[in-house]
Symmetry: C6
Subunit: 246 residues, 6 copies
Amino acid sequence: MNMGTLDVVLAAISHNISFVGKMWSVLMVGLRLLVVLLAGFTLFSDEEERFVCNTIQPGCSNVCFDLFTPVSLFRLWLLHIIVLCLPHLAFATHIAHKLLWDRSRSGAGDVLHSRGSRGSPCSTPETSHLLLQHHGRGRDAPRCVRSAPSFHCAYLLVVILRILLEAAFVAGHFLFFGLFVPRSFLCYEAPCTSGVECYVSRPTEKTLTLHLMLGLACLSVLLSLADLVGGARTALRWRRRTEMES
Amino acid sequence: MNMGTLDVVLAAISHNISFVGKMWSVLMVGLRLLVVLLAGFTLFSDEEERFVCNTIQPGCSNVCFDLFTPVSLFRLWLLHIIVLCLPHLAFATHIAHKLLWDRSRSGAGDVLHSRGSRGSPCSTPETSHLLLQHHGRGRDAPRCVRSAPSFHCAYLLVVILRILLEAAFVAGHFLFFGLFVPRSFLCYEAPCTSGVECYVSRPTEKTLTLHLMLGLACLSVLLSLADLVGGARTALRWRRRTEMES
Amino acid sequence: MNMGTLDVVLAAISHNISFVGKMWSVLMVGLRLLVVLLAGFTLFSDEEERFVCNTIQPGCSNVCFDLFTPVSLFRLWLLHIIVLCLPHLAFATHIAHKLLWDRSRSGAGDVLHSRGSRGSPCSTPETSHLLLQHHGRGRDAPRCVRSAPSFHCAYLLVVILRILLEAAFVAGHFLFFGLFVPRSFLCYEAPCTSGVECYVSRPTEKTLTLHLMLGLACLSVLLSLADLVGGARTALRWRRRTEMES
Amino acid sequence: MNMGTLDVVLAAISHNISFVGKMWSVLMVGLRLLVVLLAGFTLFSDEEERFVCNTIQPGCSNVCFDLFTPVSLFRLWLLHIIVLCLPHLAFATHIAHKLLWDRSRSGAGDVLHSRGSRGSPCSTPETSHLLLQHHGRGRDAPRCVRSAPSFHCAYLLVVILRILLEAAFVAGHFLFFGLFVPRSFLCYEAPCTSGVECYVSRPTEKTLTLHLMLGLACLSVLLSLADLVGGARTALRWRRRTEMES
Amino acid sequence: MNMGTLDVVLAAISHNISFVGKMWSVLMVGLRLLVVLLAGFTLFSDEEERFVCNTIQPGCSNVCFDLFTPVSLFRLWLLHIIVLCLPHLAFATHIAHKLLWDRSRSGAGDVLHSRGSRGSPCSTPETSHLLLQHHGRGRDAPRCVRSAPSFHCAYLLVVILRILLEAAFVAGHFLFFGLFVPRSFLCYEAPCTSGVECYVSRPTEKTLTLHLMLGLACLSVLLSLADLVGGARTALRWRRRTEMES
Amino acid sequence: MNMGTLDVVLAAISHNISFVGKMWSVLMVGLRLLVVLLAGFTLFSDEEERFVCNTIQPGCSNVCFDLFTPVSLFRLWLLHIIVLCLPHLAFATHIAHKLLWDRSRSGAGDVLHSRGSRGSPCSTPETSHLLLQHHGRGRDAPRCVRSAPSFHCAYLLVVILRILLEAAFVAGHFLFFGLFVPRSFLCYEAPCTSGVECYVSRPTEKTLTLHLMLGLACLSVLLSLADLVGGARTALRWRRRTEMES
């Protein structure tokens, strides 16, 4: 009863994510977040200020920059990482809720039906047991781990969602941005009189960062596919074992 | 008695929020706060500096910007998220106060009436019990959980308030801002001589962010409605069970 | 003896603040601090830079801005919130000191007079008892909670101070700033030759924020009055009970 | 043995500071630090940039600003608060070191001389005892609290140092800065040709902040004097009691 | 069962890193991160703004800066430190996963085969045991530490990866940047008419910082080589002992 | 077994640093870090921007600033403080590693030689014992504290290194910077046509801060010398006692 509730929830979450999934979290989310926040922020912070157009027509620079980058790469990457973490956050919330809910239900069950079932590991009201219930799955009576497979399915769903989000991200980059940030941009839009040439700041570094992010996205898809295959196998094995035992 | 007071309060709060409500907190508040703080801040930070007007009349740019955006979208979104969290903060304060108050009242009851009711789970002065009292509701004697329904009603109130706030937010956007950030703005106000055209910075990205925020608000309303229906059902079932038991 | 000293102090403080007082802390201080720090900072950060005067006389803009806003609204609001929190900080320090002091005094009393009063709940040197001493007030022998009323009086004093500070704040705004931030300002001060017109940046948004802050101050006064009435009643009831018991 | 070392040290430090001293820490250091960091930073951040001189001679503005404020008020206040906290930090280090040192010495003493003294409260090697040793001073045998008076003297020294630092600060302000920040400044220094007039930014607000800081310094001196008188009395009473007991 | 899961994982990680490896983490990663974040950030923050070219042709400065530094040294160093930490993060994830996995597998083994092996230290389900299992390796029965050598190999792999990354970093600097940041740069690129001379800001300080970073990288390689030799010896000794025991 | 590993390590580190050493850490590192980060950052942040040269030749200002301050005082001070903390970090790592290593070795010894020495305080596998082992040194059997003197020597080494680093820092300032920041600087470098005079921003405040930092460095050397003498005496006394006991 000594362990904090938070500790139990964290342990349960970490148990329900496979090794490849943990690696993915650390390498992909951690690496990309650090790269975007630390390096990307200073790289893109003055992208509009140093987007120099060869004109003195007021507003022309604003309109050309809007045409050149309808969405800033920096903010798009930030949004991508945030959206990528959402399924995992929802998964973690799902586990945390299940843990607390099972506990109060099993506790309620003690009162409503089945008195004296205190001795079975399924219904002890101790908090520390909650960890074991989902942890040492095979050790407990099969009756009380019936809710566990839902975690397997939910995790597979999370991985599939992850792959789709990454693929959409890579495809979107190919379609809307291309693979290179050009050095200059020709713009014939309304307030600018005739064609105006605008010069982008640090195009080489931006191109290299773009390649790095796309490469990391591809690596992330590969890791997620490996995670998917491993997760599917574990789920199948688990189902067979449950069927044999029941 | 080992668990910290904070831990007990946190567990009680997390128990009194339904699964949909937890999902809503994580997805809606977390996602929107991250989007507004990380992406919105850099997007809107230079909105007035890069609002370029085709004039050299001093003060004209100031007056036109005030007409164009009487309230900054960034600060409005920030305020909206802060106001949206207030009912939940009040709800959490309500639960925390109730927990500590019930405890001291039941303790006081021991002294004032003091009929050796120490053995009943309602009046044990242990802190860890406070969690169980509101947690494993069905297990305790019905007499001591009489204060629990108020949490159900309070939660429903919070959800209804949430829906109203979101609806007001979406309606306010439609009325005052429209659905698009225009590329240029014509301004005929006092210090500007004749009509002056002003050019907005990054109109496309601002429009897309506006759509994202409105979409999230609609999703939030739907999630809250689901939460409301679920919460109402739980409250009804709870009331029936209490009536049957009493 | 397991609970940390900090935990005991926090629990004692939270117990000595009424429900309305807790609500006030969360809604008024939290909301206002977030609004001022997050929204106010970006709104007022360039107030002097974008205060545009129709002159090229050096120093004229400086002098006119000093006349227009002798004290920045942003810094005034910040100072107001800091000052508003001071009585509560002093109250918390008072409680924390009393808790530790009572403990060492009762411990010292054991040694100096030492009448085997170990068994009474008043003088057990356990840290966890300190919480109960001020918590379950009615349960302990009346002798040892004699210091508790001082907390009631101190809390009432804090609430009264709070109301006076808020009222002074609202009155000060009416007197020195008025209820509206004007769009332009006429200035006839020394270095400026003849009358010079200066244009304020974002006057509408500043006016709305001013109204929001004044509204919150009025709400805070109402909440504090309700807290005052409730606190006075509790103190009276408490005094009567002590008189009856003694 | 459950309490962390940090907790013991914190409790010992908080016990050795009187009520007035705690109030002083919270009100004076906390209030001034918040005022200087939050309000002072934005007020003084552009003091040199907006120090406008009526000349186009390069370097003249730099030289005049150096004459006008040889030391920035903001940085001086920051330094003052940091220096003011140093005696307290040294005092806290002194207590923390004494606690750990006494413990290992008394432990060593058990082994080298005097075996069997385990039962006395002075030499039990339990960490939790360390708190009691300096806490419930009167309860323990007088032999083991012999090191306590040094804390009284050290604390009085800290308070005296505090008063001297504050007095030097106020006197320094009167001598070097005066009580008002002027609106303009006449400068006849080398690179400027003839007399040049420079205009200070926000002189009224700076003057008011200066008065606030000086007022807080005077209040701090008064609080410290009260603390000094109270501390001296406690030390005298303590000495008499020790003499009577020994 | 009192220790938090996090604590167990931290202790296991710290045990599996040699003394030289810990020194390397503290000195190399800590020192370089502090130097790059604190000193490097302010040194390189205005590198493009103060890259002054002797021309007024728009866009020429942008193009010349892109030629002069295709990748900013500051961002390259940041990326290098992040990439350098990745193998260690993966290693830590590996250990943490192994710890939790071994535990649930051994627990499952109890149920599936269940030979009353409860008494052996390998299969006790206590969390605190997990630490001992990998900690006091020699004390437990040899059967249950069979998974430990994988940590030795993984650590050697991490060290080798570290050396390769550092070598690639130093080589890349020699090839692409050279050892000196020049004071001026001649640029004959497209939008600039004829040759244009550009002046770099703070070349001396940048050169010294570059030398510092390269020197630290070389020191890091030497430390890592020492770590590699020590780790290889430990692994060999460990293998021999296991072979002798089995 | 309740104390966290981190707590044990912290207590052991704090025990192995003398009183003067702790004072030095708090006063010298804390004070200097606060002064440099809070006051130094705002003082030097615009040193290049406000370094005004009496010329309009492009690049001349860059070249003259590079000559005037080859290394920024702010970044040099920052680097100095970081380097000064490194020996202490290495020392702390050394202690932490020794603590965990001794423990696993003594545990392994139990198994390999296993002479029932469980009862002796040296080889008990309890975590809390680790603290006592290096803490109450004299109480344990002399055999198990044989590793302690290495800490004394290592600490003396750290203090000597500290003194050398401070001395080098002060000497470097005298040689390369002198004791005063001049108000103006004459520059005859390549791109500037003829001699150009440049004006430094805030020379008086920079000179005073330089004096403050040099004074603190001298004080630090004196404190470290006192620490060295005290540490050497303790080490000698310790050696004599060990020799007498063995």
